[in-house]
């Protein structure tokens, strides 16, 4: 089956972010297709490469980046939600006059239209949130 995923909560603060990852991993292992993973609300914080979790804990951001590289996943961070919360790629940082960017490898920043399109294209859109 072709799935799209919506992640609405941030890493380390809410189970939704972990469960979304485990769902995607399990779906891929069973041979399903993940059309897109869209990060919204505090979920955009799953895409910051500046996270430094304790060494004996899981690295949620790195885990997404690695899974994206392995399976060519499309990880999309909502631009409006990202701007509010200080998540930038190089071009957004430049456009907004900021001196740094922090988006993790494998993630890209785009608009909410990508969420709607993910809902249209997939057979199931699964929401992970509160």
């Amino acid at each position: 089956m072709k799935f799209s995923i919506l992640v609405n909560e941030g890493p380390y603060t809410h189970q939704a972010s972990d469960t979304a990852f485990q769902f995607v991993k399990a779906a891929l292992a069973k041979g399903h297709e993940i059309y897109r993973v869209f990060f919204y609300h505090d979920g955009v914080n799953n895409g910051t490469r500046l996270t430094v979790p304790p060494q004996d804990d899981r690295n949620i951001v790195k885990r997404w980046s690695e899974l994206a590289a392995e399976h060519k996943l499309d990880l999309v961070v909502c631009i409006a939600a990202a701007q509010r919360r200080g998540l930038m790629d190089k071009s957004e940082a430049k456009r907004n006059g900021k001196d740094a960017d922090n988006i993790a490898p494998g993630f890209r920043i785009s608009g909410l239209g990508q969420l709607i399109e993910a809902g249209i294209q997939a057979e199931r859109l699964v929401v992970f949130g509160d």
Partner: protein, 127 residues
Amino acid sequence: MTEESAGGVAKRFLYVNRRAPYGTIYALESLEVVLIGAAFEQDVSLAFLGDGVYQLTKGQDTKGLEVKNFSPTFRALEDYDVTKLYVEKEALEARGLTEADLVVPVEVVGAERMAEIMEAQDVILSF
């Protein structure tokens, strides 16, 4: 569950609003998705359950909170051809509200009918 439209196959999208308008950002960011999504010419409905019914109440004053009162935006939804707004009857009653307290015309439906509406959707986005 899909129907043909001018642009191809339209899917049924339901946005489920479960939270009070202020206190968290979910309600505001949900409305942002609805407005963007309207451009995709899908079959769009909105549902308001639980504290979500407060999003539609008249007379919201957010000055003291120093956040934007976004309730007028609901009145603009009609211009985006978003006209199917379902409000849970039980949620209104539990909060001492009636349809007259809301900023836009809605269809008040019982929980059972709401379940049927949800069952008929292709995509449900819950906020």
